[in-house]
């Protein structure tokens, strides 16, 4: 069973890589478009898949994180079959959101990606798992209520009897309508992206979730929120996006700083990573809010980079927790003596997190800052303060947990297994590759955001 699971995951990754590589940058736009299948003509629902330059890195990200998460969950027990079935339902939902050109199916897959989390966390989780699972699902379903109303409003107001995104782009929504409906999408999708003050489900959920689910959730699922804002919000309601730009900038700035400060105060390893995710998703939202070429490219690249980085983080924390059975930072000391590989991987992830040049996080955050300086220079200062705080909590954490004299109670701690090492190494490799050679990513992202920026510029 496990091997067939691995095979499916590997094939999916191969397809994801193929899609990413085969995307033709010179052509741009939507590619690999499937035939438009009229799924429910009475309602105007079509099943229509395609990938553009924004979806391409997300598809690749999903493939990578999924495969590594499967290997990190290799020894899941009990009820591994149920676990992987739900896991795959979640992955299916994620791919569906990235590739759907129909708002009905975008929402369909969006919900599909959220719901399996309840059981994945509730059954296989730890630390207040029921609380975390319920909070997460209720927050996300509540936010999807806003999205739902927003999508139906778009459908009705366009009066075209279709949910197809490409057709709806021609609708031309009035400015009042855009002003009213955009916040529905911004907050609705924003909750899943960890938008402050609706982010609290995220650390609780991540802490309660089993390792592989945290990886997938922080690594990929939170990106669905940001993706939704770009795909539906910016694309269909560019005027509304401009009206709400300042609000999003302010909230996202709070995200960055507040997330980082909260991470500073945590005692549980996983909570640190959870809050750091909130902080880093703030950069994504900031980048989106700039509505500026570099900012937006940075946002999408940060989605990719943070996805890989945070998956690596959660994998590492999972490895430590599996062996030490605690995540309390205060009891760890000098683990690098016993877990050399884990410690060095953790250092790479940490450096990527605080934006060290040479790792993908640097490029992404740099682009976001460039965009910010051109649009909201004051906010950019706060953003950089956030990055500075990140450096403090990450370095302090690494120093405390991995360095110093080895605490004797950890003298028999084994390092990660070979399988775990291999999966984590591949994530490290992607981080480094993305840092030294970001061009394939930024070029494809530029293709994706081009048309959207044109639409924004057209109403400016």
């Amino acid at each position: 069973m496990k091997y067939s699971m691995a095979a499916v995951a590997a094939v999916t990754l191969a397809i994801s890589i193929y899609l990413f590589v085969a995307y033709d940058n010179d052509l741009g736009g939507y590619q690999f478009m499937t035939e438009k299948y009229h799924w429910l003509p009475g309602l105007g629902v079509t099943f229509h898949l395609a990938m553009d330059g924004i979806a391409a890195p997300m598809v690749l990200l999903t493939g990578i994180v999924m495969v590594t998460a499967v290997f990190m969950a290799w020894n899941t027990a009990p009820r591994a079959k149920d676990f992987f079935a739900l896991f795959m339902a979640l992955v299916c939902g994620v791919y569906g959101v990235f590739l759907s050109l129909d708002l009905f199916f975008l929402f369909f897959f969006y919900e599909l990606a959220v719901v399996p989390m309840y059981l994945l966390i509730g059954v296989w989780g730890s630390t207040r798992k029921e609380y975390g699972a319920l909070k997460l699902v209720l927050y996300l379903v509540a936010s999807s209520v806003l999205v739902w109303v927003g999508l139906i409003a778009i459908y009705v107001h366009a009066g075209m009897g279709t949910f197809n995104l490409i057709e709806l782009e021609q609708a031309g929504f009035g400015s009042t309508f855009q002003k009213v409906v955009f916040p529905l999408l911004m907050f609705g999708f924003g909750v899943l992206a960890g938008l402050w003050p609706f982010h609290t489900w995220s650390p609780d959920g991540h802490v309660a979730a089993p390792t592989s689910v945290s990886m997938l959730h922080a690594g990929v699922l939170m990106k669905l929120g940001a993706f939704g804002i770009i795909r539906v919000g910016l694309d269909l309601l560019p005027e509304g996006a401009q009206d709400w730009q300042l609000v999003l900038v302010i909230l996202a700035t709070v995200n960055v700083v507040y997330g980082a400060v909260s991470a500073l105060a945590q005692r549980d390893l996983k909570f640190v990573i959870g809050y750091s995710s909130v902080s880093h998703m703030g950069y994504v939202l900031l980048g989106i809010a700039t509505l500026h070429p570099q900012g937006l490219t940075g946002a999408v690249y940060q989605m990719f980079s943070h996805g890989i980085m945070t998956a690596l983080f959660f994998a590492l924390v999972g490895v430590v927790y599996d062996r030490a059975h605690t995540r309390d930072i205060s009891v760890f000391q000098g683990l690098s003596k016993r877990m050399g590989v884990t410690a060095s991987f953790f250092a790479v992830a940490g450096l990527a997190s605080l934006g060290l040049p040479g790792l993908s996080g640097f490029i992404a955050e740099f682009l976001v800052f460039v965009g910010l300086f051109k649009t909201y220079p004051v906010v950019a200062v706060f953003g950089i303060i956030g990055a500075a705080i990140t450096a403090v909590y990450i370095l302090r954490l690494i120093a405390k947990v991995f360095f110093g004299p080895l605490d004797t109670r950890w003298k028999d701690l084994p390092d990660a297994s070979n399988l775990e090492k291999a999966s984590m190494l591949s994530l490290v490799a992607v981080l480094i590759f993305g840092g030294v050679y970001p061009q394939p990513f930024t070029r494809i992202i530029d293709q994706g955001i081009g048309p959207i920026l044109d639409r924004v510029a057209a109403v400016a």
């Binding site: 799924w39 009905f104 919900e111 599909l112 059954v123 798992k129 209720l138 409003a153």
Partner: protein, 478 residues
């Protein structure tokens, strides 16, 4: 007058079937009575088949007061199938917990007959009489566990409230007749269009009519009888009350409002919309605190009545298609839930939600089926619930009811919570120490899986059903 009796073949079949069951029951020994449900199922399938053959031969009877159009035929095929599921679902329960099975199955046949008449009624009194035929069967069935106080209480409560609501209905009908001078749906529409009628008498009558039907479909504020009756009635009867009688009543309501009251839509649209909002809110909010799964499903079915009323308030061809699709999807989903509850009750005698702890370990199939149905009722994708809710809400938004859609969507969110609480018991809570694995009964289990298939079908390939419905609903908007 030339009466084409061929149009009534399904109804005649049902009458014959009811009497046949009744008579056979008298003459066969107790240990052979197991054959009765098979007879009933076979008869219902033949009925559904004969209704299907009416396609292409639509027509009407008795000066157009009884109409067999595509819309009616759709339900005449659908309702006997509901009856089939009902018979199979109640078979073991009847054997174990109830007396005189023959009469029970006969009553199901007669109630299906009542529903078949309801969907064809094109005139107020015909509608009333067929509704009463259904109701009388339901009164008896609610009190069928005659040695159980709860069931008796349910029966008495039901019959008193039922009689009262019938009175309200009749009073409303008489006022409408007085105001419009006719009881046929088309005649009423003509009178309303000409504008030549007693406004006050008509509005009073319309209000009473809405109130009377409000009792029958369990709309707030006419719902207070329902939870007690639903809890007290034998389990399969509860299922029947919340599925079949609702489906037929909404089929009738849709025809009544679409044909007769369409000209004065502005008069009743706000009322129905308000009732819909109230109904879904009360149903879903009160469901949160329920400890008994039967009561939980009862309140959830009140909530769904609210969603169904959205389809009436948004009266349009699209909304009608959405409403009928909702009825089909809701029936399949709710039957899955109830059959799971019935099977679990038959095996263990439990019906409290906390007693579902660890069901996923004891019977993975049962737990999975119940989970699917609850997820579907909550409106989650891949299952019927998502499609039908999305459809009906979109249709309502198109008719300027976006505020109602917003309330409905929030209610849908609330429902996720209480359905999850049941799923939590089954999957997260451990089973009690002494609990043994459960074996699924064969025939009921197979029916259960078939219905789960239907839930998936509507969730993944709804066109298979909407294609049929889209041919049926235009009959209302001729």
């Amino acid at each position: 007058m030339n009466v084409d009796f061929a149009l009534l073949v399904p109804e005649f079949l049902l009458v014959g079937l009811a009497f046949a069951l009744f008579t056979v029951d008298l003459f066969i020994p107790n240990d052979k009575k197991g054959i009765l449900p098979y007879l009933a199922v076979a008869g219902l399938l033949v009925t559904a088949g004969s209704a299907f053959t009416l396609l292409g031969n639509e027509g009407s009877l008795y000066a157009n007061i009884y109409i067999v159009d595509k819309y009616a035929i759709f339900f005449k095929v659908f309702l006997p199938l509901v009856g089939v599921v009902m018979v199979i679902a109640s078979r073991e329960f009847v054997n174990k917990h109830l007396e005189s099975p023959g009469e029970f199955y006969s009553l199901i046949m007669v109630s299906v007959l009542g529903m078949m008449l309801m969907v064809s009624a094109n005139e107020l009194l015909t509608a009333y009489i067929s509704l009463e035929l259904l109701s009388f069967c339901l009164y008896i069935m609610a009190a069928y566990a005659k040695r159980e106080a709860r069931s008796n209480e349910a029966g008495v409560k039901y019959i008193l409230i039922g009689a009262f609501s019938s009175g309200v209905l009749l009073y409303g009908m008489s006022l409408i007749y007085g105001a419009l001078g006719t009881t046929t749906f088309e005649g009423m529409a003509d009178a309303l269009r000409s504008g030549d009628h007693l406004e006050l008498a008509f509005l009073t009558g319309l209000t009473l009519l809405i109130a009377g039907f409000g009792f029958k479909v369990v709309a707030v504020p006419f719902h207070m009888w329902a939870p007690d009756v639903y809890e007290g009635a034998p389990l399969p009867v509860t299922a029947y009350l919340s599925i079949a009688s609702k489906a037929a009543s909404f089929a009738l309501l849709l025809r009544l409002f679409a044909v007769a009251f369409e000209p004065v839509i502005d008069d009743w649209k706000p009322i129905v919309a308000a009732i819909a909002a109230l109904t879904m809110t009360v149903g879903n909010v009160v469901a949160i605190s329920q400890k008994n799964i039967k009561r939980l499903l009862a309140y959830s079915s009140i909530g769904h009545a609210g969603f169904l009323l959205v389809g009436i308030a948004a009266l349009s061809e699209m909304a009608s298609t959405a409403l009928v699709l909702y009825l089909v999807g809701y029936a399949a989903t709710t039957f899955v839930a109830f059959i799971c509850v019935i099977i679990y009750f038959n095996l263990t005698g439990h019906e409290k939600i906390e007693e579902y702890a660890g069901l996923a370990k004891r019977s993975p199939v049962l737990a999975l089926a119940l989970t699917i149905s609850l997820f579907s009722l909550a409106g989650l994708p891949f299952f019927a619930g998502f499609t039908i809710k999305f459809y009906i809400f979109t249709a309502a938004a198109k008719e300027d009811l976006i505020w109602l859609v917003a309330i409905a969507v929030v209610n849908s969110l609330i429902s996720v919570y209480y359905y999850l609480m049941v799923i939590r018991q089954m999957y997260i809570k451990p089973a009690p120490e002494a609990a043994k694995p459960l074996t699924m009964p064969k025939i009921t289990g197979a029916t259960l899986l078939t219905l789960v298939g239907v839930v998936f079908l509507i969730g993944i390939y709804p066109q298979s059903i909407t294609g049929l419905i889209e041919k049926a609903t235009p009959a209302l908007f001729g």
